[in-house]
């Protein structure tokens, strides 16, 4: 005599598999790798000057009482050019923005800024992505909000779209 439940076990396992697949279809896996540094202090760094007419960037800049945006970009990155109008709008709204140029060269950064506008107060050059890695950032462009005590409070992965701007301004105000 074969045990009855055993015969239905394959179907049960298969149903579980199907449910998992269905769940996977309905809620696709989150492809974005977010930084686990949110809520933690900004790692200390000193980066050399990346653009001719902007000073270099040191992490101490971020613990002076005022929240600031830290934008990770590169002159060779197409979405970075696409998000520049939004960064300009943020700068116009009074949000201070610093930039980190990844794997870049000064002439390229200068040309990029001349063409797409320059919303940054300081720009540091991260030639080997080491600060990017220390921040837990996985690509360009990404934007971090750092509060006045030098704590990372928010990360935006990918290019900032026009509809993202009000939310970022609100977050920046809330971090005051």
């Amino acid at each position: 005599m074969k045990s009855g439940w055993l015969l239905w076990l394959p179907l049960a396992l298969f149903a579980a598999l199907g449910a998992l697949f269905l769940g996977g279809l309905l809620h696709p896996e989150e492809r974005v790798i977010t930084s686990k540094m949110i809520g933690k202090p900004l790692p200390a760094f000193t980066l050399p000057q990346a653009a001719s007419d902007r000073p270099a960037l040191v992490s101490a800049e971020f613990a002076q009482g005022k929240p600031r945006l830290l934008n990770i970009f590169a002159s060779w990155c197409v979405p970075c050019a696409a998000e520049s109008p939004q960064l300009m709008a943020l700068a116009q709204a009074g949000v201070p923005i610093d930039g980190i140029a990844i794997r870049d060269a000064r002439e390229d950064v200068d040309a990029f800024l001349a063409r797409w506008g320059n919303p940054y107060s300081h720009i540091g050059l991260d030639a080997r992505s080491s600060v990017q890695i220390a921040l837990g950032s996985s690509g360009v462009p990404e934007t971090f909000l750092i509060d006045g005590q030098g704590r990372i409070v928010f990360q935006h992965v990918g290019d900032i779209r026009a509809e993202d701007v009000p939310g970022i301004i609100a977050k920046w105000k809330a971090a005051q």
């Binding site: 074969k2 015969l7 179907l11 298969f14 199907g18 769940g23 279809l25 809620h27 896996e29 989150e30």
Partner: protein, 644 residues
């Protein structure tokens, strides 16, 4: 015109599949021989029509007809003809059309050549095959029409991904497809047998050639895919435990288990329910693999052709066919008479061990592949990769290999442990010898798994040949040769894997033209680098000379740039020697004008794929050995006009 003809043929084929299913179902239900008589001719006609549809698509690709959407999206008039041809199935729609075509042709094969099965089981099998085809026809016609027109026509196509522009593409995917479809036939046999309550040795003998054939093709497909990844990716890896790779491994594992259990059923009429179960599992793994690749629910597969809508369609098919078959299993298998009995010490029992281990390895691969999906549901992102699979599947595979030595040396039904142990004397001596040699020469330098792998490979290599001793080799049946060669192939492949993992030598170095470097006994000289143009690409090509012991060979690694679409690929240069491969890759140009070179010496790495080919060859010999007589008989019958 050709596109419309193809579409019409596809619709007709789909209607005939429906007719085939209806004739089989009503014919069996009402016991009407007139209806059943139509099933086989309809199956053959359906195959001809779907083959015509596929031919139309091939023609459209060869003629670069840019008024067809699929061609415009995936081809380019400047491509070499081979890649236009292979481009037919280098995309979702075309590959699904290939799938139903092969399925239709296989169905015609079952209709024409199967003559030993009980008639009602045969008809139920053809009905099941039509039902599966029908789902895929619906998939094609309602959500993935390959013949859709583009109005106005595109000036030229978007091109085929450069990575896919490789002779490997022409043969590797169809090989795997054929394997999957072979498993669908095994599935149909299982469903037919359950429907007609006819699970016995005759059923197993009817199903066996399809299982063997599918297994041979899957083996070849995976072997070719592995070698392709090895030379095309440019980092010297041959297996990555990537989700999509696992998707092709799972059906192979299930088919391997099925292959062994079907032999038990055919020879000893035991393991009835389990064999039916495995036939269902094997095909379900093909479909799960297809689902994982096409739906994009796992990160690996984001590259192209992923589409949640297609994913839902495949999931629905999966639920209907596999869910239905498993429900049928639950309902019917209790009524299947229990098969013959055997003892703990018998070849049957060892084949049960084989099936258990293969099933657990299959479970490990499935769980490991899907685990990130499960944790994602709890908001926790994890990665499951080589460290996990190596550690769990590796030891299980080694135990499986040990059982592979014992199994063929054990008698069916019952054997005496002491006698079996005596037969194992020589493999045991070889393995102990290898342990001693490796312990002295390589202890601490190589990992535990490669160490054990080399030892077990030696034991299996010798053990696999023992069944030939005390036999007249000329009179040894072909299927025994098949088993011996397939098992030897496993040992050869394992030896290659272990040797590559244990003794691989890597040299990463920046070189200027004129520089040489010594590595692993080779002197590698970077002579010059110069641009070169191909059909639809340009490249920087390095001239490298490699010398060892007075002989010198030239290697020409490239860094290739394609324009449509714009992409860079590295073309590694590989020098094959009897004792391994020298693998050279040209990397980036550095600031100071030197070039980054990656050089590997991989001792005996070729054994991995040589073993794969041997395994497949063993399968082919087994098919010929088992089926030769039957085929001759069937051909005579067909020639005598007994068809129908």
């Amino acid at each position: 015109m050709i596109a419309e003809l193809g579409l019409a043929a596809l619709w007709l084929a789909a209607s005939l599949a429906l007719l085939q299913l209806a004739l089989a179902a009503f014919g069996l239900k009402q016991g009407r021989e007139d209806l059943l008589g139509g099933v086989r001719p309809v199956a053959v006609t359906q195959a001809l029509l779907v083959a015509l549809a596929f031919l139309c698509l091939v023609l459209l690709f060869l003629r670069s007809d840019m008024s067809v959407l699929l061609v415009a999206m995936n081809s380019h008039s400047a491509k070499p003809w081979l890649y236009k041809f292979a481009g037919t199935w280098g995309n979702h729609e075309g590959s699904m059309l290939l799938w139903v075509t092969v399925m239709g042709v296989a169905g015609a094969g079952v209709a024409l050549f199967e003559r030993t099965l009980r008639r009602d089981t045969h008809m139920a099998t053809l009905g099941a095959q039509a039902a599966i085809s029908l789902g895929f026809y619906a998939f094609l016609l309602f959500s993935s029409n390959p013949f859709a027109r583009l109005d106005p026509p595109a000036p030229d196509g978007q091109g085929l991904n450069p990575l896919l522009q490789d002779p490997g593409l022409a043969f590797h995917p169809p090989t795997l497809y054929l394997g999957y479809v072979g498993l669908s036939v095994a599935f149909s046999f299982a469903v037919g047998a359950l429907m007609t309550r006819n699970v016995d040795a005759a059923f197993a003998r009817a199903m066996r050639p399809w299982v063997l054939g599918a297994w041979v093709l899957l083996t070849l497909g995976i072997t070719a895919g592995s070698y392709w990844a090895y030379y095309e990716l440019g980092w010297g890896g041959w297996w990555f435990w990537d989700p999509v790779e696992n998707a092709s491994l799972m059906p192979w594992l299930a088919a391997t288990a099925l292959l062994h259990s079907v032999t038990v059923l055919a020879t000893r009429d035991a393991l009835r329910a389990w064999t039916v179960m495995l036939a269902v599992v094997a095909f379900s793994m093909s479909m799960v693999g297809t689902f994982l690749v096409r739906s994009g629910i796992l990160t690996s597969v984001h590259a192209f052709a992923v589409d949640p809508e297609r994913g839902s369609f495949i999931l629905a098919l999966l639920a209907i066919y596999i869910g239905g078959a498993l429900a049928l299993f639950g309902l019917r298998v209790g009524t299947v008479r229990e098969g013959e009995q055997f003892e703990m010490m018998s070849r049957e029992a060892l084949l049960v061990v084989n099936n258990l281990l293969l099933t657990v390895i299959l479970g490990v691969v499935l769980i490991g592949t899907l685990y990130p999906l499960m944790t994602e549901a709890f908001g926790h992102k994890v990665s499951v990769g080589p460290p996990y699979f190596d550690r769990i599947a590796g030891p299980l595979a080694l135990i499986l290999m040990l059982a592979m030595i014992v199994g063929p040396l054990t008698r069916w039904r019952r054997d005496r442990a002491g006698v079996v142990a005596g037969r194992l004397l020589w493999p045991a001596i070889v393995m102990l010898g290898l342990v001693a040699v490796l312990a002295v020469t390589a202890w601490g330098r190589i990992g535990v798994l490669p160490f054990l792998g080399l030892v077990v490979a030696g034991g299996v290599a010798l053990g696999s040949l023992i069944p030939l001793t005390k036999r007249n080799l000329r009179r040894t049946p072909l299927f025994i040769w098949g088993m011996v060669i397939a098992h030897l192939g496993c040992a050869v492949s394992l030896a290659g894997m272990a040797s590559e993992s244990a003794f691989n030598v890597e040299k990463l170095i920046a070189m200027a033209p004129g520089d040489s470097v010594e590595t692993a006994g080779w002197t590698v000289r970077f002579d010059r680098v110069a641009p070169i143009a191909g059909d639809n690409w340009t490249a920087m090509q390095a001239d490298v000379s490699a010398s060892r012991g007075g002989a010198t060979a030239r290697l020409r690694p490239q860094s290739r740039f394609f324009t449509s679409p714009p992409t860079t690929t590295t073309e590694s240069a590989i020098l094959t020697k009897w004792d391994g491969q020298l693998y050279v890759v040209l990397g980036d140009r550095l600031d100071d004008g030197r070039w980054q070179m990656r050089i590997w010496w991989k001792p005996f790495v070729t054994l991995i794929w040589l073993g794969g080919v041997l395994i497949a060859l063993g399968g082919v010999l087994a098919i010929i050995g088992r089926e030769r007589r039957g085929w001759a008989l069937k051909l005579r019958q067909i020639r005598a006009g007994e068809f129908g």
